[in-house]
């Protein structure tokens, strides 16, 4: 049977059996709609939870904490364990590792004040924490180019801030006879910090929440940070001095509580206030993987190096999301199975009613294979149309759900613009599923049609 002849047969079937075929396709469309809707919801949840809240394509490893550190407090200066260059090199060798970014925590006391641009008055903290990270970690920032060590382009020599332009300050290390004028050190802060501020700090001090306008307003906000002293004490070395910090953006890569600066700046300050060792051994390392499944290998290798993940929530959330997703897919599959049974019933009736016609076709030269092709092609059309309609319905339902969520749900941390993700492969998968289940339903009837005994069936009218 030629393709054209097959098309002719299918066209006639669609014209004369439209009702039953629409009914058969309805079950498939409902199943596919549920499948696509749930999968898109799952993917959306995964994107928000694992992409923004708990990034799963990366893992941060830090040295395992031991009681030795506590004991050392009694013996003198505490030397925190660190991640050395050799550990970084080993982690880079793990298959699936896309990049390794060391992080350097502040190893000196500091405090900060500022923020009048946002709050109308200066606020501050007597204990400022912070990290230094590689600029590549915040490459997704709108102004990522600004996240660089300002001394990469040093200004003129200076002794005090008064020697520099109004917006700059004099970056003069403790023992240096003179310094260099420097633009404010760029900093990024975390969304988590913003959430904590809005829900805990702002209400307590009668300050406005900033979440809705933070990205717009926080850029350019300057803080003065005092290095070498804080509420808890003074650094064992170096002089207390003040630097300027300017917020350049909000990033999920920023430390939750504190500021995150270019790693070169922190390395310089750690060297100044905690010694050379504190500037060479990193406090933790962020390993980005591709594919994400390589994360487990990184954790294994890290354990061998005495490094442990700083946060296991990502893995827990990943398991939870995957489990819920699997459950929803199972529900969708059951619906699709019902759709397949519906198709099976319709096709069985069709084959039964047309046994005389099938027998006639056999007498006219159709082979058993032709009959199978005919019914499977019909099932393909039903599955394809059902799949496309189902996917379209799912997309509409998702748009409706997003619209209702935007209107009815209050703002909450990490509230996304859309709860759904519809990658192109999802539509292909849905259509493939629809056709596969349609075939499953048509399998029995198609085999039955191929087995139709023409000699006896031709004894009955068509």
């Amino acid at each position: 049977m030629t393709l054209r002849a097959l098309m002719v047969l299918l066209g006639r079937d669609l014209a004369r059996t439209r009702g039953p075929l629409v009914t058969a396709g309805f079950g498939i469309a409902v199943g596919v709609a549920a499948l696509v809707f749930f999968l898109a919801l799952g993917l959306g949840a995964q994107r928000v939870l694992l992409g923004d809240v708990f990034p799963i394509d990366q893992v941060e490893l830090e040295p395992q904490k031991t009681s030795v550190g506590v004991l050392s407090l009694f013996g003198g200066e505490y030397q925190a364990p660190g991640v050395g260059p050799e550990a970084l090199a080993e982690l880079r060798q793990v298959p699936g590792v896309a990049a390794v970014y060391p992080k350097l925590r502040f190893r000196f006391p500091s405090s900060a004040r500022g923020g009048a641009e946002i709050f109308g008055k200066e606020i501050g903290t007597h204990e400022m924490l912070g990290d230094g990270i590689d600029a590549a970690l915040v490459s997704d920032l709108e102004d990522s180019a600004r996240f660089v060590d300002p001394l990469t382009t040093p200004g003129k020599s200076c002794l005090t801030d008064a020697d520099c332009a109004a917006k700059d300050y004099c970056e003069r290390p403790s023992d240096a006879p003179s310094g260099q004028c420097s633009a404010p050190v760029p900093a990024v802060i975390s969304r988590y910090l913003v959430e904590v501020f809005d829900h805990a700090v702002a209400p307590a001090h009668g300050l406005p929440p900033v979440a809705g306008t933070l990205v717009r307003q926080a850029k350019g906000v300057e803080f003065r940070m005092t290095l070498g002293t804080s509420l808890l004490g003074v650094a064992p070395r170096g002089k207390v001095r003040t630097v300027k910090i300017q917020v350049v953006g909000v990033s999920d890569r920023a430390v939750d509580l504190g500021v995150t600066l270019p790693i070169e700046v922190v390395r310089r300050w750690n060297d100044e206030y905690a010694g050379e060792e504190a500037s060479r051994r990193y406090s933790s390392v962020v390993v980005r993987t591709d594919p994400p499944s390589a994360t487990s290998r990184v954790i294994e290798r890290g354990a061998a190096l005495g490094l442990v993940p700083t946060d296991t929530r990502a893995r827990d959330v990943s398991v939870l999301v995957s489990g819920v997703l699997a459950l929803l897919v199972l529900v969708s599959s059951v619906i699709l199975l019902v759709g397949a049974l519906n198709i099976s019933h319709t096709f069985r009736m069709l084959v039964s009613e047309r046994s005389g016609e099938i027998a006639l076709y056999r007498a006219l030269g159709a082979s058993a294979r032709d009959m199978r092709r005919w019914l499977f092609s019909l099932a393909t059309v039903v599955g394809l149309v059902g799949g496309l309609v189902g996917a379209g319905v799912a997309r509409l339902c998702a748009l409706l759900a997003d619209w209702r969520a935007a209107v009815d749900l209050p703002a909450f941390p990490f509230k996304p613009d859309s709860f759904f993700d519809f990658p192109p492969w999802l539509f292909l998968l849905a259509t493939g599923f629809a056709i596969a289940f349609a075939w499953l339903g048509a399998l029995g009837p198609a085999l039955r049609a191929a087995r139709t005994d023409p000699a006896s069936a031709l004894g009955r009218p068509v």
Partner: protein, 312 residues
Amino acid sequence: MKARDSQSRPERAPIIRARQVSRRFGARGAECTAVSGVSFQVQPGEVVLLFGPSGSGKSTLLGLLGGLDRAYTGQLELFGQDLGRLSDRALSALRGERIGFVFQSFHLLEHLSVKDNVLAPSLFAGAPLPDIDRRADEVLERVGLLARAADSPSQLSGGQRQRVAIARALLRRPKLMLCDEPTGNLDRQTGESIIDLFGELHAELGTTFVIVTHEERLRRLGGRALHLEDGQLVREEPGILDDQTQAEATQGDASQGEAASSHSQSTERDDERGDHEPRRDAAQAEAAQGEATRGDAHGGQAPRVARAEDVE
């Protein structure tokens, strides 16, 4: 009377060769034998009528001959090919290309037009058939229904519907027409016209006909008659035309030493073996010979379709 192809004889080998063909139905222990040890041959250009009472196995045998039913024992060759050895695809291709079927209940597809019904066999050709549309018009014209090509079969009379079925069977120019009670659902007058049409087609195209019937009036087509009873081939009557075909069939049978249907010696031998070969009815053979002589006297070139009164 001689059909055109009977004279030219483009195909010398039998179109059908059945040897000890049996067909049983039902589970073991409760079997029912529909066809039992049937052996016969059909030569190209012959008209063979299968007679017998209801339940004698005529239609079952026709289904076997057309390859529609393959659950038989024995050996069945069609166009020199052993049906038992053919794959489903090969057998289907053979059916589509070389066999035309005409059924008692027409088996037209009511949702299609007359012309689409005629074109139905083209759907299952392995490759697009050239000029198939024109060919459909030709066969419709041949059966006198070109003007009704766009009509639905439901708008046609019984005789017209059977003509459409015949046109459909003729579409791919089959070598063999298998007809199952083609006049069974028609009134006498309409049946007569269908018989005339068969006669004309046989004369024009030289197509081999095997017709299952219980109506004696089809004898005027001049073909050999095989009588079945209880699934057994009990008697054969020579045709009232085509004596040359008969002679060649007999000669072919003798040379093969098989139980050819028209060979009395082999029939006797098979009878001794217990095989169910037809017995020749001498008186009917003489009558048939007389008809053949009348046919020859009619010109000997074009086949003459004997009128009903000739045989009844």
